[in-house]
């Protein structure tokens, strides 16, 4: 599992105004499950509608837009929520149709089932 930031095609000529340019790298857990991979990401402050998970060319992209308003006049600040962004290069093909993502308590859980051809095939050995 390689982490990679894939150079994205951007229209350089037109600067994207008013877009939060800074982003946080969220901590992740990645582990094998029975039929694929599970990715667990801490995304506090992100509503489930604002999570973007996609797999393109074997690159898993996780992006989240944090929406957070300070309830009153700020006195003291330890954290600031901006957008989250992280990419991983997947080593195996993933069945895109069957990707499942779930958001609970600010934690995103993604299940990436392996594509059929990536699963190991059991070959029966015939004994003569």
């Amino acid at each position: 599992m390689k982490e990679s930031t894939v150079p994205q095609k951007r229209e350089e000529a037109v600067p994207q105004t008013r877009e939060e340019a800074r982003s946080l790298v969220p901590p992740v857990d990645i582990f094998d499950i029975e039929d694929g991979l599970a990715v667990v990401v801490d995304l506090p402050g992100v509503k489930k509608e604002h999570v973007d998970v996609r797999v393109e060319n074997d690159v898993l992209t996780i992006a989240g837009k944090a929406e957070h308003k300070t309830p009153a006049n700020p006195l003291y600040k330890e954290f600031e929520l901006v957008n989250y962004f992280r990419q991983f290069q997947l080593t195996e093909h993933v069945n895109q149709e069957k990707i499942k993502a779930e958001m609970k308590y600010g934690v995103l859980t993604i299940k990436l089932p392996k594509a059929e051809k990536a699963k190991p095939k059991k070959i029966a050995v015939n004994v003569a």
Binding site: L24, P27, I30, F31, V40, T70, E78, Y105, V107
Partner: protein
């Protein structure tokens, strides 16, 4: 042989740097807001991160605590029961429930465990009027300022 004269200003400068280094993780410097939810050992004692804000009648404590079961959260006001200026937030961030063998991990960056954090507020709050809300991994506690701590408006008489 180089001859170096003792320079008190250099000593002062070195001391200043030392002090700055010791405090660099506490200070909120401009542009230093990008401390994410990553819990490194260095910050473990100040987990969860909190933001504090106030309006006329209330204090709001927001804590960045993803993946915490709301049932495990305990909020109490001290030091006296019901009245005081410290708030204690305790809870537990659960480890992954699924049975994962250690060798199945590719990455394990999220940390889990129990936490307690005590925050001292600038004024006393009323422990009876506390409400807490946990949404999207952020805990927001609303604390009513004690009557005595509220700003009083003093009318100016015009003679």
């Amino acid at each position: 042989m180089t001859f170096v004269t003792w320079n008190p200003w250099r000593e002062m400068e070195a001391l200043r740097r030392e002090v700055e280094r010791a405090f660099e993780n506490f200070e909120a410097r401009p542009g230093d807001g990008l401390r994410g939810p990553v819990l490194t050992e260095r910050f473990a004692r100040s987990y969860p991160f909190i933001n504090l804000s106030e309006d006329k009648d209330n204090f709001y404590v927001e804590a960045l605590a993803p993946g915490v079961n709301p049932d495990s959260l305990e909020i109490s006001i001290g030091p006296a029961r019901g009245l005081g200026n410290t708030i204690r937030i305790a809870g537990e961030k659960q480890a992954i429930r699924m049975d994962v063998k250690p060798e199945a991990y590719h990455r394990n960056e999220r940390q889990a465990g129990k936490f307690i954090r005590t925050v001292t507020l600038p004024v006393e709050v009323d422990g009876e009027k506390v409400s807490a809300d946990y949404a999207n991994g952020i805990l927001t506690v609303k604390l009513a300022k004690a009557e005595a701590a509220k700003p009083k408006k003093i009318e100016v008489k015009v003679a």
